[in-house]
């Protein structure tokens, strides 16, 4: 019995000493709420059709076809929705639901995007950035639209 208790105590100590696992690089950032036409999520080189309710993670690239559009709600209540022929990369997402601190960076490589910023941008004007191949957008608690691409797009 004593040995068992010592063993248990040792196990507790060891467990306590093991550092908490680092948050995985690919953390849940948001969920798909709406899709029309072809919408795919590319993750670690694999493309999959995006279903309603599908999780979106940092590192994902969301693409829409010629008839496609997609709406995503993020954990900080940011809303991003992309129109047809769009490529949207979720570069970085971190959100502390208690302090509302963190950061959210995304890139619209081409296409159209409508954004309603959420708690991150409200907490800090530096927290949310949207990039395009030609510009960087700084967001101060706001709703806005982004179109980027070649004139022929």
């Amino acid at each position: 019995m004593a040995r068992l208790i010592v063993g248990l105590a040792a196990a507790v100590v060891v467990t306590a000493m093991v550092p908490a696992p680092l948050p995985a690089q690919a953390q849940e950032a948001g969920h798909v709420k709406l899709t029309r036409g072809l919408v795919e999520i590319e993750r670690a080189g694999q493309k999959a059709l995006a279903a309603i309710g599908a999780a979106v993670q940092a590192g994902d690239v969301v693409t829409t076809g010629a008839d496609g559009s997609v709406g995503i709600t993020f954990l900080d209540n940011s809303l991003l929705s992309a129109g047809p022929n769009s490529v949207l990369a979720i570069d970085r997402f971190a959100f502390d639901s208690t302090t509302h601190q963190g950061s959210f960076e995304s890139s619209l490589r081409k296409g159209t995007l409508a954004v309603v910023s959420g708690k991150l941008a409200k907490q800090s004007p530096e927290a949310m950035k949207v990039k395009t191949p030609a510009a960087v957008l700084g967001v101060r608690g706001t709703e806005f639209l982004v179109r980027t691409g070649d004139p022929k797009d």
């Binding site: 709420k33 709406g71 809303l79 047809p84 510009a135 957008l137 706001t142 806005f144 639209l145």
Partner: protein
């Protein structure tokens, strides 16, 4: 020699005229749904424009060429119709109040619960967060437990009417985040609450 210079000038003009814009970028600030308009900075190759009026816009035809302007609401709708139509429903939240020291809703809040259920039912893949709170009467650990019980009670009510339990996250914050700040040990009905976020 003069003719040569003339030709060169002509060639330059032609080049400039033919140079198609490299990009077709358009950035538009919208009025906020709450009536407030925020601000958006657009930076390209060191050039910057700050948009802070409804429908203020910036066009970028090449890196470093930021042209401020304005679009009409109609132009914005036309250029961004499908993206705007795909916008998810706005997240919303409700506050329900509780009887003192109990996990029983007040009669008014009990009625509000059906509106919460309706709201959840209208959303695709709904996510619900229920956060319980207390007033400052009683010890902190007691209030931590009570606040979580309140949140769990609301979750149970939602599950009872058919909302999937795995869509609901519950948390208890005890007396730490009062809606109405009070000294310790003060009874305050407005702090005995759960906040339900729906998105």
């Amino acid at each position: 020699m003069r003719r040569l210079a003339g030709l060169a000038a002509l060639a330059l003009l032609l080049l400039a005229g033919c140079a198609k814009p490299a990009r077709n970028d358009l950035y538009v600030l919208l009025p906020g749904a709450d009536g407030k308009t925020g601000a958006l900075s657009v930076e390209s190759d060191g050039k910057q424009a700050v948009l802070d009026q409804p429908y203020a816009a910036a066009r970028v035809k090449a890196p470093g060429q930021v042209e401020p302007g304005v679009v009409t609401e109609q132009e914005a709708r036309q250029a961004f119709g499908p993206a705007l139509a795909a916008q998810p429903g706005r997240p919303t939240s409700f506050i329900l109040y509780f009887l003192e020291a109990r996990d029983e809703l007040t009669p008014d809040s009990r009625q509000l619960l059906s509106r919460v259920v309706d709201e959840i039912g209208q959303r695709p893949a709904p996510e619900i967060v229920v956060i319980g709170h207390t007033d400052r009467v009683g010890p902190v650990p007691y209030n931590d437990t009570l606040s979580l019980r309140r949140a769990e009670r609301v979750r149970d009510e939602l599950v009872k009417v058919g909302i999937a339990a795995d869509r609901i996250r519950v948390e208890g914050r005890g007396e730490r985040e009062p809606l109405v700040p009070t000294p310790d040990e003060v009874a305050e009905p407005r702090n005995r609450r759960v906040e339900i976020s729906v998105r």
